[in-house]
C-alpha cells in the first residue's frame, strides 16, 4: 500500500509526462507482481462497484471526527473531493499500519473485498474504522479512491504502456497492444504481460488507435496539398474491426468490445479473410440518410439489441484504414500503400450509399437497408487548399464535422502523435445563454463552481438548454465562482440556483429535436466560448433561434 501511495502522489505531483512515466516504471519494476496487477487495473480506470456507500462513509467519518454532518458536507463542498475530505477531517492515525495495509493486493483483499462481502453495515463500519485508525491522511485518500472505485490520476493508457514497455524491454506499441482488451488481474497474467515473446498471436486484440489532433494553424501551412489525403470527418463512433482466426471483434476507442451492441457488423465481417484489421467509423444510416448521433449512442449503450432496434437504427462501418492484411501488421507502411490495399478490400464508397440532407423521421421504409455493412470512406480529390476549404464549407449540410487531413506518407502511429493526422473541423454553432445553475467542480477545480447549466429565453422564461464545463480561464472561473456565491437563490446539495445575471457565448457542434429535454432541443458538445460581460440576461438568445438552426441544418441539406 505504501509503494502504491507513493506512486499515486508522485503522479499527482507532476505535470511532466516523462516524470509520470518514470514514476510508473519505478513502481512496476519494484512492486510484487500481484500488487502490480491490481495497480494496473486501478490505473486503467477499471470500473468496479463501490465497496461501501458514500452516505455511510460520510456518517462514519463525521462520527469518528466528532463533527456534525453539515460541517462534513460544507467541507466536501469546499474540497470538491469526498475521498480527500474524509481523509483530512479524521484525526491522525492512532495505531501503526498492519499487514493488511502493507501490500496493495493484500489491502484490496482484506479491506476492499472484505467490505464487499461484509454481512451488514456494522461489520463494514468495523473494517473502515480499523483502517482509518492505521493510515495517515495521504494513504487514506488513496484507500478511499480504491473503495469508491474512482482512482484517476491522469495517466493515459499510452503512458502506462510506455512505462511497462521500458520495464519489459519491449516496443511501446507492442505493450500497448498487449494491454488492450484483456484484463490483467493476477500475478501470473502480469508476468505474461512482461514476457519478452509474443504469446497469443491469434488474439482478437486491437491495435492502439491513432488519434488526430485539431488543426490550429492554416491548412496551407501543411505544405503541398498533393502530400495529403482528405476525407470527411464523420460524426459517428470510432471503431476497429479485428478479424482473426474464426472470429471477429469490434472495439471502441475506449477499448470496449462492442460485438453485442453491433451484431450485424460482426456477422458481416465474416466475409473478410482471417488476418484483417480495419480502422473506421460506425454510423447509423436508414433510407440512405445519416441518423443523428443520438441514435448511434442508443445502439452503443445496449447490451442486447432487439430486432426492432436493429430495424430502426441500422448501422454501417465506414473504413478508412487497413492495419492488418493476411495477418501482416501494415502500420509502418505509408498511408498511400495501406489505402490502395483498403480500396481493394472494401470497394464501396460511402458517399454513393447516402443522400446528404435532412435527418430521417417516421418509420423505416422497407427494403432500403441494402444489407451492405462495410463501406469505404471516400477521399476528397483536390488540387488546392482552396478546393478543400470549399469542400469543408459544405460540411454542415452533409452532416459531417469537417475534414480529416492525413499525410499520405505517414505510418499508423500510436496515440496522439502530432503532425500526420489532423482534424479540420467546422466552426461550431453558437448562442448567447444565461447562467441558471452552477455546480462545484471536482479534481483540478475543486471547490470552485465550474459546471454551468445555461438557459435561453422561451417567452418570458429562461429554459435550460445545455450543461457546459470548460472554456473559461482560471481567473474567470474564480470570478464567476464569486458571483455564483453572491447571487445564490437556493442550494440543492452541490447545485446552486443563481439569480440570472451572467451571459456566456455557448458553442456547440450539433443540435436536434429531443423529447427527453424540457426545452425540446438537444445540443451536442456544448462548451463555453467566452464570457459576454457586455451582455445582460435580456440580451441572451431565444429557443426559437436554436429551432431555426435545426431547420436550417435540415433545409440546407435538402437542397444540397
Amino acid at each position: 500500500m505504501k509503494q502504491f501511495t507513493d506512486l499515486y502522489w508522485r503522479l499527482d505531483g507532476t505535470t511532466s509526462t516523462n516524470e509520470k512515466v518514470a514514476a510508473l516504471r519505478d513502481y512496476f519494476a519494484a512492486a510484487p507482481h500481484d500488487d502490480a496487477a491490481v495497480a494496473l487495473g486501478v490505473l486503467s480506470g477499471g470500473r468496479h462497484g463501490r465497496a461501501v456507500s458514500l452516505t455511510l462513509l460520510r456518517q462514519w467519518a463525521a462520527d469518528a471526527a466528532g463533527l456534525p454532518a453539515w460541517l462534513l458536507e460544507e467541507s466536501y463542498a469546499h474540497v470538491g473531493d469526498l475521498a480527500e475530505t474524509i481523509a483530512l477531517v479524521l484525526p491522525p492515525p492512532a495505531e501503526e499500519a498492519g499487514d493488511s495495509e502493507s501490500s496493495l493486493a493484500a489491502c484490496m483483499q482484506s479491506t476492499v473485498q472484505a467490505l464487499r462481502q461484509a454481512a451488514d453495515d456494522d461489520a463494514k463500519r468495523a473494517i473502515v474504522e480499523a483502517v482509518w485508525r492505521r493510515l495517515a491522511a495521504r494513504e487514506r485518500i488513496v484507500w478511499h479512491k480504491l473503495l469508491t472505485g474512482g482512482c484517476r490520476v491522469g495517466v493515459s493508457k499510452t503512458l502506462v504502456a510506455r512505462a511497462l514497455a521500458e520495464v519489459a524491454g519491449l516496443e511501446p506499441a507492442v505493450m500497448a497492444h498487449r494491454l488492450m482488451g484483456r484484463p490483467i488481474e493476477t500475478a501470473a497474467q502480469f508476468a505474461t504481460l512482461l514476457c519478452p515473446d509474443e504469446t497469443e498471436a491469434d488474439s482478437q486484440r486491437p491495435y492502439p488507435f491513432f488519434l488526430a489532433s485539431p488543426l490550429d494553424a492554416d491548412a496551407p501551412s501543411l505544405g503541398d496539398v498533393a502530400e495529403w489525403q482528405a476525407e470527411w470527418k464523420w460524426d459517428g463512433m470510432r471503431a476497429q474491426l479485428v478479424r482473426r482466426g474464426d472470429e471477429a471483434a469490434l472495439w471502441s476507442r475506449g477499448e470496449e468490445l462492442m460485438n453485442e451492441a453491433f451484431p450485424e457488423i460482426v456477422t458481416a465481417a465474416a466475409a473478410f479473410p482471417a488476418g484483417t484489421v480495419l480502422d473506421g467509423e460506425l454510423l447509423a444510416v436508414r433510407d440512405r440518410r445519416l441518423l443523428p448521433f443520438a441514435s448511434l449512442s442508443r445502439r452503443a449503450s445496449r447490451r442486447r439489441v432487439t430486432k426492432q432496434v436493429l430495424a430502426e437504427i441500422p448501422c454501417v462501418f465506414v473504413a478508412y484504414d487497413l492495419l492488418e492484411a493476411e495477418g501482416e501488421d501494415l502500420r509502418s507502411e505509408p498511408l498511400a500503400h495501406r489505402r490502395a490495399l483498403l480500396e481493394r478490400m472494401v470497394p464501396h464508397p460511402f458517399d454513393k450509399a447516402i443522400d446528404t440532407g435532412a435527418s430521417v423521421s417516421g418509420p423505416p421504409a422497407d427494403g432500403h437497408d441494402s444489407g451492405q455493412r462495410f463501406f469505404l470512406s471516400p477521399c476528397i480529390t483536390a488540387d488546392s487548399w482552396d478546393t478543400l476549404a470549399a469542400a469543408r464549407a459544405t460540411s454542415r449540410q452533409r452532416g459531417v464535422e469537417g475534414l480529416m487531413l492525413k499525410r499520405k506518407a505517414s505510418p499508423y502511429a500510436v496515440g496522439r502523435t502530432r503532425g500526420d493526422w489532423w482534424k479540420w473541423k467546422i466552426e461550431p454553432l453558437e448562442i448567447d445563454a444565461v447562467l441558471l445553475y452552477a455546480q462545484a467542480g471536482h479534481g483540478r477545480r475543486a471547490g470552485l463552481h465550474t459546471d454551468y447549466t445555461l438557459g435561453v429565453w422561451q417567452g418570458d422564461r429562461l429554459v435550460p438548454v445545455a450543461k457546459a464545463y470548460s472554456g473559461l480561464s482560471d481567473a474567470e472561473i474564480v470570478e464567476v465562482d464569486r458571483i455564483v456565491r453572491a447571487t445564490t437563490l437556493e442550494k440543492h446539495g452541490p447545485v446552486r440556483v443563481v439569480q440570472p445575471t451572467l451571459v456566456f457565448q455557448l458553442s456547440f457542434e450539433g443540435v436536434s429535436r429531443s423529447t427527453r429535454h424540457k426545452s425540446g432541443v438537444a445540443v451536442r458538445f456544448p462548451r463555453i466560448a467566452r464570457w459576454r460581460r457586455d451582455k445582460e440576461p435580456q440580451d441572451a438568445g431565444h429557443l426559437a433561434d436554436i429551432e431555426r438552426m435545426i431547420e436550417m441544418a435540415s433545409s440546407a441539406g435538402a437542397t444540397a
Binding site: 507532476t14 456534525p68 460544507e74 469546499h78 483530512l88 477531517v89 483540478r444 475543486a446 474564480v478 465562482d481
Partner: protein
C-alpha cells in the same frame, strides 16, 4: 451593558475609548494587529502597534503618521479603556488586542497561529469574555503537518533540484511567510536569494533581532543567478514574470495553507505545494477559543459562518462578524491582500 467594541462602516470601533482596531477607512486612532494589507491601511492620523512591529508597519503605511508602540503584555489607558497587546504568533510584531473596561474584556486576534515559528513571538492565550477570532482555515480539513516534516520536505526538494541543476523557487508572501520559510531552510544545500520585496522585509526582521540564514538580494540587471543551485524566495506576484528568467531552469513551489488541498495544488499549477501557513488550523482555532474561556465568540475572515454555527451547537454565544479582512483566499491568483504588492489605498475607497 453596551458592547465594548462595535462594527462600524470604518471597522471595529471602541466608542468608550474612541479608537479603532484594524480599520479599513481613515480614522483618528488606529490600533493595528499586524502589518498585512487587509489589517493595516494608510491614511489614519495615529497608529498603535506592538513594539516589534513598528518597522514593518512603517513600510506598509508609508506616511509619516505617528506610530506609538507598546511592548507585549504592557497596558495603556486610552480614554479610560485599558488596552494591551499580546503575541499572536502570526508574523513579526503581530498582536492580539486586549481591551478591558467596566468588568468587560474583549480580545481581538487579528491573524494568529499556534505552531512554533522562530521568526516571531509565540501565540499567548489571553482570558476574555468576548473573543474576536479569525477563521481563515476554519474547516476541519485544515490540520497542519508538523513544521519539522515540512522543512524536511522542502529541503529534500531543494537538494533534488540542485542535483538536477535546477533553481528552486518558493512563492511566499513577502511579509512573514517568506521569512518563516527561510528559517526552515538548510543553508548548507546552496545559496538563498530573495526578491526585493522579500528582501526589504528580511532586513526589518534582522533589524528586529530575528535570526535568519544568509540571504542575498538578486542584483538588478543580473544575467544569471545561482548557477542552478539556489533557493529563490519570491512573492506570489512574481510567478510567471520575466524576473524569474535569471535563474535558468527552475522548479517552482507555493508555500501556503491552501496547498493542503490536492485540487488547489493542481489548479495553481506549481510543481510543488508546501503546507506552510501563518494562520491557525482548525484544531488550533478550537484550542485557542477554548483557552480564552470566552462565552461569546465573534468570527471574522474565511469560514466565519461555519465556525460560528459549530460553536453555537457546542453551547457558545457565537456569530460571524462581517469585516473586510480577507486574509489568504483560496481562489486568488497570487496578488493577495497579504502580499506586499497589493495597493494599500483601498482604505480611502
Amino acid at each position: 451593558m453596551p458592547d465594548l467594541l462595535e462594527l462600524t462602516p470604518a471597522g471595529l470601533y471602541c466608542p468608550r475609548g474612541d479608537f479603532y482596531i484594524d480599520p479599513w477607512r481613515r480614522v483618528g486612532r488606529a490600533i493595528i494587529t499586524h502589518a498585512h494589507a487587509d489589517h493595516a491601511r494608510a491614511g489614519s492620523d495615529r497608529y498603535l502597534c506592538a513594539a516589534p512591529g513598528k518597522l514593518v508597519l512603517r513600510t506598509r503605511i508609508g506616511s509619516s503618521a505617528p506610530i506609538d508602540t507598546l511592548p507585549y503584555g504592557e497596558s495603556l489607558s486610552i480614554n479610560g479603556v485599558e488596552v494591551s497587546l499580546h503575541p499572536a504568533g502570526h508574523v513579526l510584531g503581530s498582536a492580539q488586542v486586549r481591551v478591558s473596561h467596566g468588568g468587560q474584556t474583549w480580545v481581538v486576534t487579528g491573524d494568529y497561529k499556534l505552531e512554533a515559528d522562530p521568526t516571531c513571538a509565540a501565540f499567548e492565550p489571553v482570558r476574555c469574555d468576548v473573543f474576536v477570532t479569525e477563521s481563515t482555515f476554519g474547516l476541519p480539513v485544515y490540520r497542519w503537518p508538523d513544521p519539522a516534516s515540512v522543512a524536511a520536505e522542502i529541503n529534500a526538494w531543494w537538494r533534488a533540484n540542485r542535483d538536477a541543476g535546477r533553481s528552486s523557487v518558493i512563492f511566499a508572501y513577502a511579509l512573514g511567510k517568506a521569512q518563516r520559510v527561510a528559517a526552515l531552510l538548510d543553508p548548507s544545500i546552496g545559496p538563498i536569494v530573495a526578491h526585493g520585496a522579500v528582501m526589504k522585509m528580511v532586513e526589518h526582521y534582522r533589524a528586529s533581532g530575528v535570526r535568519l540564514p544568509p540571504i542575498d538580494r538578486v542584483p538588478p540587471r543580473a544575467r544569471r543567478v545561482g548557477d542552478g543551485r539556489a533557493m529563490v524566495l519570491a512573492p506570489p506576484s512574481a510567478a510567471g514574470s520575466r524576473w524569474l528568467r535569471v535563474f535558468g531552469e527552475t522548479s517552482e513551489a507555493m508555500a501556503s495553507g491552501w496547498m493542503m488541498l490536492r485540487g488547489v495544488r493542481r489548479r495553481r499549477g506549481f510543481d510543488r505545494g508546501f503546507v506552510v501557513s501563518d494562520h491557525a488550523d482548525f484544531p488550533g482555532l478550537m484550542q485557542a477559543i477554548a483557552a480564552t474561556g470566552a462565552r461569546r465568540v465573534l468570527a471574522t475572515h474565511g469560514f466565519a459562518d461555519s465556525l460560528a454555527r459549530l460553536l453555537r451547537e457546542r453551547g457558545l454565544d457565537a456569530a460571524a462578524l462581517a469585516t473586510k479582512f480577507t486574509g489568504e483566499t483560496v481562489g486568488d491568483s497570487g496578488d493577495d491582500d497579504d502580499d506586499e504588492s497589493t495597493s494599500v489605498d483601498e482604505g480611502a475607497a
